[in-house]
Amino acid sequence: MQTHLTVNGKSVTVEAAPNTLLVQALREHLHLTGTHVGCDTAQCGACTVIVNGDAVKSCNMLLAQAADAQITTIEGLAKPDGTMHPMQAAFKECHGLQCGFCTPGMVLSAVDLCKKHPNASEQEIREQLEGNLCRCTGYQNIVKAVQHGAAAMKS
């Protein structure tokens, strides 16, 4: 089955079985391995990508459901010259990552959150990021990073 979609600004066509998940298409067909599979059951959020402007857990969506969609993965967040998105820079600055496995999903969820709620309070950030788990348990600095990132995204 052929599915056409736009990934990080590039138009792509993926030839895959109808039961292919979006995350499989990204990782195994397009070799974008920055999107991680942590749990495969939509609990951990490591597979989060942006689909048509919404943060979505790509292990819980079929590739076919993403037909003609605009997808942003972690590989497509920085500028082409390598300059990081303000949220990525904030995570680095605030030590919002340790092993880095949850980071791509965490950053993309945070970007979506701050676009929709630029003035989110600490409590709201904690609630909104409930679907992203960090097994290093670095939540304190993740929340701090999201607050810094939100401010940087506004300016």
Partner: protein
């Protein structure tokens, strides 16, 4: 060296910039699951759900017939090839874990065998 002397060592009490963050933040980190090589296979370790249970038999027929499965290896195979027990990653001298004692599972969750298969998923399984 007295305790107070540690403050004179380089980097003590200082925040260090991590070198790995850029690649982790841009999706360029490479974790085990990200490695793709030609003719790569995946192994699954099957563990006993029961502690101290007697293993009377292991029936691998249905699993072996599943699409993509290359081989299934249990304690007998490992013993036959003189591989011995799987080494523990940490220094525990008292006990080296057997792959499969054939008759008894000594702890909850010893490795009962490894199952190697080609495609990582088929039909979402």
């Amino acid at each position: 060296m007295g305790a107070s002397d540690f403050s004179k060592l380089p980097h003590i009490g200082e925040s260090l910039r991590r070198k790995e963050d850029y690649r982790f933040l841009t999706g360029a980190g490479q974790y085990t699951d990200d490695v793709q090589m030609a003719n790569m296979t995946h192994a699954y370790f099957v563990r006993s759900p029961h502690a101290h249970a007697h293993i009377k038999s292991i029936d691998i027929k249905a699993a072996l017939a599943a699409p993509g499965v290359i081989g299934i290896f249990d304690g007998k195979d490992v013993a036959g090839d003189s591989i011995n027990g799987l080494p523990c990653g940490w220094l525990i001298n008292r006990y080296q874990r057997p792959t499969d004692e054939r008759t008894r599972s000594p702890h909850l969750g010893p490795r009962q065998g490894a199952l190697c298969r080609r495609p990582r998923r088929h039909g979402g399984g």
